[in-house]
Amino acid sequence: MGAIADFLGGPDVVIAIVKVVVAFAALLVATLLTIWFERKVIADMQARIGPNRWGPFGVLQTVADGIKLFFKEDVRPRYADRWTYGLAPVMAAVPSFLAFAVIPFGDHVTVGGERVDFIVSDLNIGVLFFLAAGSIGVYGVVLAGWASGSKYPLLGGIRSSAQLISYEIALGLSLVPIVLVTNSLSTVDIVAAQAGSVGNVDLFDGTFLQGVSELFEVIPNWYIWSQWPAFLLFMIAGIAETNRAPFDLPEAETELIAGFHTEYSGIRFALFFLGEYIHVVVISAMAVTLFFGGWNGPIVDEFLPWIWPVGWFLVKTIAFVYLFIWLRATLPRLRYDRLMWLGWKRLIPASLLWIMVTAVVNVNPEGVDEQTLRSIRLAVFGALFLLVLFVVAKGDPRLKQVVTPERPRSRRAQKQGVKSGSS
């Protein structure tokens, strides 16, 4: 072991390689299980059985599908741009793996005197790296659409690039408040800031609610309580970022055949889906990391203390993967102009507003006493509440437009009309 470690450049490099291989294998297995899970859950929701042939409860169905796709013909359509067409699936799959690198999936374990943190790499710009890796995935979609040399993929590719960059802004803005309250871009710091329980926060001290704050000892100190608007914005933009229902416009099989991957078959097609499902897992894991305390959990036993945080992390992530599947089974696809309307006219102003609200609430100027600060915060929340009420009450004017279509005449009336017209 020591000799191998020295050959590779010290134990740190060995640890890094092991972590990378484990994370990579875990993501592949997660993809297989997520696809199976989705097919099973949606089958249940539609009163079907779903895959049940391969392995217990059909759990090996995805493996069977994958092997089948390996043996399929590798077709490249006539007008396709050779290299770009080949590059696009790789460009779609690889960034999703990279985005997982900054997600802490457990605490740490000491092996042979070396501390091993359960994260591929704790970058000091973790959140930015996650956003960057996610947006590189857009290239895969755009290039696939352009390089296929066919009409439907081209439309799907251009559409999806417009969609993805629109939601990219809201996604980026929705994470700024989290960075603002943590004062760090590192995901490890963000998880550390959510340790413990809400009881540590002296928000209600000195008010009549002091007794209530003791009840808060059992509630974990997650960002979801104070940052739920950011969480909602993150989830909406995140689902749009993964190209999944109700934002699966790039595929839109009812109007664009299969969107950007119409001309793709065999293993290249599989790579697009590998990228998509890993993206689902990564967005779920990121939601857990940023808003639901990451690997923090209520119970950490003496028996294998390092496996408990990993378990908590997995449980929370699976809950979010389930949410993705649930949404796909429930919601119809948005119309394209409604999609752009939601992104540009609602999510972007809402996330900007929430950044400023968080900034005002968290400002700590010198020479201002606590009482004044508290009244400022109350005033801000009150104003925000009124604004939300106003927007909700006003609604979308276009939904209220009354359109009275010309009433189609019945067939008999038409015939009579023709008769009376001709006579």
Partner: protein, 122 residues
């Protein structure tokens, strides 16, 4: 010895790229290859497609407008991140500065909205 933070990410990049390229290569060796003229036609719902679709196609200018607006707002997002990291030190000064910046941005945003730049379909 501390490891450069980006080395594991480089490993992951190499590993996942190798995996993707290798699976395409293996599949091309394992699968059959019987290309026919009809099979290589671009898909167009059964009718005979016209030639050179991608090269000559023109797009609504809206897509380019969205791209330009995206760049403006994305740069603004990049501005917000360092500000958010240093917010504790900047305190009231940072709040006012960012208030001015976001205020200007909102003015531009309202202008674009009123001019119909954000409308997708009439």
């Amino acid at each position: 010895m501390s490891l450069p933070a980006y080395l594991p990410i480089l490993f992951l990049l190499v590993l996942s790229t190798l995996f993707a390229v290798a699976s395409i290569w293996v599949s091309s060796k394992l699968g059959p290859r019987k290309w026919t003229v009809a099979k290589l036609q671009p898909y167009e719902s059964g009718i005979v497609p016209e030639e050179g679709v991608a090269e000559n196609e023109r797009f609504p200018v809206k897509f380019y407008l969205v791209a330009m607006l995206f760049i403006i707002f994305d740069i603004e997002t990049v501005f917000l991140y360092p500000w958010a990291v240093a917010y504790e030190e900047l305190a009231l000064f940072g709040l006012i500065e960012m208030g001015v910046f976001v205020g200007l941005l909102v003015a531009v945003y309202v202008y674009v909205w009123k001019r119909g730049g954000l409308e997708w379909a009439e």
